[in-house]
Amino acid sequence: MTSFVLRRLGHAVFALWGVMTLVFLMSRMIPGDIAAVAAGRLATPEQVEQMRVTMGLDRPIVVQYFDYLAKALTGDLGSSAYTHRSILVEIGEVLPSTIQLVLLGMFITIVVAVPLGIVAALNEGRARDVAIRVLLVLEGGIPIFWLAIMLRWIFGSIFGWFPITGENSLGAAPPDVTGFTILDSLLFGNAANLADSVSHLILPAVALTAPYISTLARNVRSNMLTAMKSDYITFAVSKGVPPRRVVMRHGLRSALGSTLTIIGMQFGWMVSGAVLVETVFGLQGIGSLMHKSIVNHDTFAVLGSVLVIGFVFVFTSMVVDLAQMLLDPRVRAAQGGKS
């Protein structure tokens, strides 16, 4: 078992190294004067030269590469060409907002998709199953950014049920301690803060989840179908186990194995999908930071965000794999470990 954990860690380290290398290569493929891009549009020629030296662009590429790796590992992702602040600091300020949004989105996805998948599987071929599958196909094709606009318009502007911009209304924000408005409201704020924070996140989170509910529900359905057709289900029935327990304890428990992997990947996908939602709703997350950086030709800030998101993705994949190993004896057995 430890060998599996070590191998998985090694895998993650390799992936992280790979992402860093990829980002480095991308940064060196910027057409034109890289230093000028890094220094920003308003930089004077002297500042550009300064940047060239700082970045070591006049040195051999191998030296640049190791220099870059060393800097990245210590947290130096360069400074924004637009704000001249440390890119990592800027990302750090906005990342909690995105994580919070994605966590809320994942919660909604799981709570909606898993029951849908189960119901569809148990009613295979019948009306409920068909209806659910049609629904899933429909909502799987909706573009997130468009859904965001539509939701904002219909439920925000027309019905007025939800606020349409930002994380908090004026004066209702909780004290900014962790950057997670919901957490801050719970720990340091009051009920009004909490209600305000949550209500600002509901529409974006729903918009974010649309395609992922479809994927997850179908996955759950498919796994449940396979599980329910297994011999151990028949055996359980022959022991007199009541239907509910057969489905939940035998069917679901066995079906969810691979679902966990998908859930982990969805976390990463949603973080990247956040860029589409945050800009529509005016949330200050890494997504809108990326967008702003693109608009401002702040290429290195974009690459910094790419790197950070890549790290998050690799990290969550690893966590999910390890969790699977802990929870699913089949995975443990396949890895040759003894429990």
Partner: protein, 292 residues
């Protein structure tokens, strides 16, 4: 076997049909899978139901506990005097695992890989309200009885850690823990290798004798029936074609099919280079003799 004990299980004119709506071969009307079979099992009696694949033997056995929801049953299955055909589901559920148990062919897939064997063996008891601790204790004892090594420690192990033969013992433990009066064994040895087969068969006979457990044993292999059963039923294409005490069957099989089955079993004392006759050849020969 002229006991005066009333039969435990009394099946009369049972037919099993697949409704037209479930057919995938594009033909209309109900498809009769099992046609008008009748038999009974007395307490402690071991009955072997023999037939080739597709003869309907598994279906017949599964119909007793109504494990197949799609088929239609006509006729009567009486357990302890109570009618099971048409009985509401809760009635059947109360019998399963408690009065009647079943073990299946493939031990590798009969156990849920993500649950411990302790939980799965204890399940017939826990779903009936017994406390987990007590049920697990009994599970440990049961596994001990069936000679699963280090049973109490292995309760928290997963099925994946056991070999085929051991898994079949775990399955048997789960089937016997509720102290059923009838055990249905659906080809429990087919997927096992010969040495393990013998162990499992001996185990079944031993538990049956010790506990007074009736057994309905499904198999396609006549050769294992001799040391096991009191009564033998031969099934072919959905019909019972012979039903006799085991000794009588082996001594003087009536139906050409049975004769064919017996005749095609390799014998230790036969000439190894001689060709075995097939069942079809036996039946053809008897048809010729009848025409003559």
């Amino acid at each position: 076997m002229s006991d005066v004990k009333p039969p435990l299980l009394d099946v009369e004119h049972l037919s099993i049909a697949l409704p037209a709506s479930r057919r995938v071969d594009g033909q209309g009307g109900d498809l009769t899978l099992v046609d008008d079979v009748s038999f009974s099992i007395r307490p402690g009696e071991r009955v072997a139901l023999v037939g080739e694949s597709g003869s309907g033997k598994s279906l017949t056995a599964r119909a007793i506990m109504r494990l197949d929801g799609e088929v239609r049953l006509t006729g009567s299955i009486r357990w302890d005097g109570g009618e099971l055909v048409g009985a509401p589901e809760p009635v059947l559920r109360s019998l399963r695992g408690d009065d009647i148990s079943m073990i299946f062919q493939d031990p590798m897939t009969a156990l849920n890989p993500v649950l411990t064997i302790g939980e799965q063996v204890a399940e017939p008891l826990t779903v009936r309200g017994m406390s987990k601790t007590e049920a697990l204790a009994r599970a440990g004892e049961m596994l001990d009885r069936l000679r699963v090594p280090r049973a109490k420690e292995r309760l928290r192990a997963y099925p994946g850690e056991f070999s085929g033969g051991m898994r079949q013992r775990v399955v048997m433990a789960a089937a016997l823990i509720g102290q059923p009066r009838l055990l249905i064994a659906d080809e429990p040895t087919t997927a096992l290798d010969v040495r393990v087969q013998e162990q499992v068969l001996d185990l079944i006979v031993e538990q049956s004798s010790e506990l007074g457990l009736a057994v309905l044993f499904i198999t396609h292999d006549l050769s294992i029936v001799a040391g096991l059963a009191h009564q033998v039923i031969v099934m072919y294409r959905g019909r019972f074609i012979e039903r006799q005490d085991v000794d009588a069957l082996f001594a003087a099989p009536q139906h050409p099919y049975t004769r064919g089955l017996l005749g095609s079993i390799p014998r230790l004392d036969a000439d190894p280079s001689a060709r075995l006759s097939t069942v079809d050849e036996y039946m053809a020969r008897s048809r010729e003799a009848a025409d003559a």
